[in-house]
């Protein structure tokens, strides 16, 4: 069952901002408080907002549990593969191997107060991104399935 037009319009308006804010938290995970899990949870709240505003059938017609599952799996695989690659470089599992390879994500951190540089911290931003898309997929899937469980009663 769709909610009223006001709720739907407000949800439409807010949804992109929630996404942007969530991804901001994910991408700045190595600079500011927050990180993959927190940002992913924020993004998932955006999806939950859509689930609440629109009917179950409308949502599953557009997003679908399958694609959310895929998002989740991609996040998990990205995480574990990033950790595994370290072994190839002769260091141990979960070592920050990107710190020594190439210019990507490898700037030295400036000393003292500074606005922050995204291009630092080796593979930590990659890990944050992986966790972020994993959490957004997983939490949305949980809510979607719980919604499908209550579908008949509503």
């Amino acid at each position: 069952m769709n909610m009223s037009k006001i709720v739907r319009s407000a949800a439409n308006l807010l949804f992109p901002f929630i996404l942007v804010f969530g991804f901001y938290i994910v991408l700045h995970g190595h600079l500011t408080p927050g990180g993959g899990f927190q940002g992913g949870a924020v993004i998932a709240t955006g999806f939950v907002l859509m689930f609440v505003a629109y009917s179950y059938d409308f949502i599953t017609g557009r997003i679908g549990a399958e694609s959310l599952h895929t998002t989740e799996t991609i996040g998990l695989v990205l995480f574990i593969v990033t950790a595994l690659v370290a072994i190839v470089f002769g260091v141990t599992f979960f070592t920050n191997w990107m710190l020594d390879v190439g210019p990507v994500l490898n700037n030295p951190v400036a000393f003292g107060p500074n606005p922050g540089d995204l291009n630092t911290a080796g593979f930590i931003p990659v890990m944050n991104l992986a966790v972020g898309i994993e959490v957004l997929g997983a939490l949305s899937v949980i809510v979607l399935y719980m919604l499908s469980g209550t579908k008949e009663e509503i």
């Binding site: 399958e66 599952h69 895929t70 799996t73 998990l76 695989v77 574990i80 593969v81 950790a83 595994l84 072994i87 190839v88 002769g90 260091v91 141990t92 599992f93 979960f94 070592t95 920050n96």
Partner: protein, 524 residues
């Protein structure tokens, strides 16, 4: 080069392989079910291979230490940290390697068996992924050298286990069992975390070796010890915290039950690790030893007496699992009770511990086998009620043979593996306290009686009309059961070789607290 990298990173690969396998499984499963099954079996085989290599490495060169996120695996203490290991460290000694080997062997049997037994259920992608995650949880618990890491793997173990218990909804009854298991496991996990917080507050470290080297056994440590023991004994299914076992074991799919047995034994390993390595000689080992012995005797006796009147074959086996856990607690408890006395330790303490530890792997094999045969019977007849079953010996010959092997092994009849470990327990416990040994033997006889009854009511008698078209189960299930039976017989025929190769180093590793600390902290 490649080979060297692999050998260097075995402890990490032991977890990374099944974890990656679990995460990729749903992706492959969406493309094709057959490919996913192949992938899951290949991942399990690879895990077993890593476990075998790791065990070989541990047995040849002592405790393997692996530091996550460091430049080299053995850089446990960073140069600028002031002598404290700040990273997560895996410390795999002979005991851990032994448990990892047992877990991956049963895991492989279960995986093969699942190929056929899971075909009828929906959601197989999730099933295989969770199965692999459960294996990850078990392997992580037995390999880690870090208390908090232990907690995390305990939770992975509980969550994956609970989801699998509930996976066959069964009009909600399986979900009820899963809910019970999940609530108790979570509460246990939180108690463990509470204890870890108490330890961290005092010693400022999470590494087991560091805490052990600083252990003072203050009142707070005693509270932490009680919490750890209660939570882990509950997860291991020891009386009086055993009430979840029959529910969870009987309602889970049989393949999962076989693995849940190993999962509870990982918690049993946690008990031993906490008592021997974390606290060691600082605690009042005679008192704690006797507490563990009493828990063990109670588990043995209550388990078997509850098992005899059961009508549901898997519930019956679940109570026997509680009873067999008692033997392990008894054996290791006797070893703990005489820990400070080198002479008594040499006379019978070590043998009792070896018996208890040997019983862990034996139990995992024959109990896993028995649950798989129960699953095979359920697969063909659709019932687990002993009063309705009968005459299956005519049509399910292989299952009957495997059941006989498992039943004789659990009752401690030679030449099966249960006899070997029980004999070690009887002999050594008799020297410690004859009464305990007699109780253990009586329980064994009751176990035999119970399984004779089960065997009679399932397989004997005339062919029943309602099971006229029952056939033998599909080949993958037979292969899974055959793998475990082969191990049961092998371990029973060559017990001395197994004990010399695996068990003696494992018992030695548990006793040798100083060696464990030194291998992590380096020469301390």
């Amino acid at each position: 080069m490649m080979q060297e990298l692999l050998l260097q990173n075995l402890p990490a690969l032991l977890l990374a392989v099944p974890m990656l396998g679990a995460f990729v499984t749903p992706l492959i499963g969406r493309a094709s079910g057959g490919a996913r099954n192949l992938w899951a079996v290949a991942v399990m085989l690879a895990t077993l291979a890593v476990a075998v290599l790791l065990t070989a490495q541990v047995l040849s060169s002592g405790t393997v230490v692996y530091t996550f996120g460091a430049a080299a695996p053995d850089l446990t203490v960073p140069a600028d940290s002031g002598g404290i290991p700040i990273r997560i460290i895996f410390a795999v000694d002979a005991m851990g390697a032994f448990m990892a080997l047992a877990a991956s062997l049963v895991g492989l049997g279960v995986m093969l068996y699942s190929l056929a037994s899971a075909t009828r259920s929906t959601g197989q992608n999730g099933y295989y992924a969770l199965l692999l995650l459960l294996v990850v949880g078990i392997l992580g618990m037995v390999c880690t050298g870090d208390m908090f890491n232990f907690f995390v793997f305990l939770e992975i173990n509980s969550l994956a286990g609970a989801a699998l218990v509930a996976s066959r909804v069964d009009k909600g009854v399986a979900v009820e069992a899963g809910l019970k298991y999940a609530v108790l496991s979570t509460l246990g996990g939180l108690l463990v975390l509470f204890a870890i917080a108490l330890l961290y507050g005092q010693y400022g470290a999470l590494n087991i070796a560091v805490i052990a080297s600083r252990m003072l056994f203050t009142p707070l440590d005693q509270i932490a010890l009680v919490m750890l023991l209660v939570a882990l004994a509950m997860k291991a299914g020891a009386v009086p915290m055993h009430f979840w076992t029959p529910d969870a074991y009987s309602m889970a799919p049989s393949s999962i039950t076989a693995l849940l047995v190993v999962a509870s034994q990982a918690s049993l390993y946690g008990v031993f690790r906490v008592v021997f390595t974390l606290y060691g000689l600082t605690l009042d080992y005679a008192t704690i030893g006797w507490i563990i012995i009493i828990l063990g005797v109670l588990s043995m006796f209550v388990g078997v007496t509850m098992a005899i009147p059961q009508k549901d074959v898997k519930r019956l086996m679940a109570y026997h699992a509680v009873s067999q856990t008692g033997y392990m607690l008894l054996g290791v408890g006797v070893g703990l009770a005489v820990l400070g006395n080198q002479q008594l330790l040499d006379t019978y303490g070590v043998i009792a511990m070896e018996g208890g530890i040997f019983h862990i792997i034996n139990h995992a094999m024959y109990k896993g086998l028995l649950f798989l045969t129960a699953g095979a019977i359920f697969y063909r007849t659709g019932t687990r009620n002993l009063n309705q079953l009968g005459g299956l010996g005519h049509s399910m010959k292989w299952t009957m043979v495997f059941f006989i092997i498992g039943a004789l092994a659990i009752a401690g009849i030679p030449p099966f593996n249960g006899f070997a470990s029980k004999l070690m327990i009887y002999e050594s416990v008799f020297l410690f306290n004859p009464l305990l040994a007699i109780i253990a033997m009586v329980v064994s006889i009751l176990t035999l009686a119970s399984f004779v009854k089960v065997f009679h009511s399932i397989f004997m008698g005339p062919r029943l009309p309602e099971y006229a078209d029952v056939r033998e189960v599909p080949a993958p299930m037979i292969i899974g059961m055959a793998l475990l039976s082969l191990l049961v017989i092998l371990f029973g025929v060559f017990p001395q070789e197994v004990v010399d190769l695996l068990i003696t180093p494992a018992a030695g590793a548990l006793i040798d607290q100083g060696g464990y600390i030194a291998s992590v902290l380096g020469g301390a």
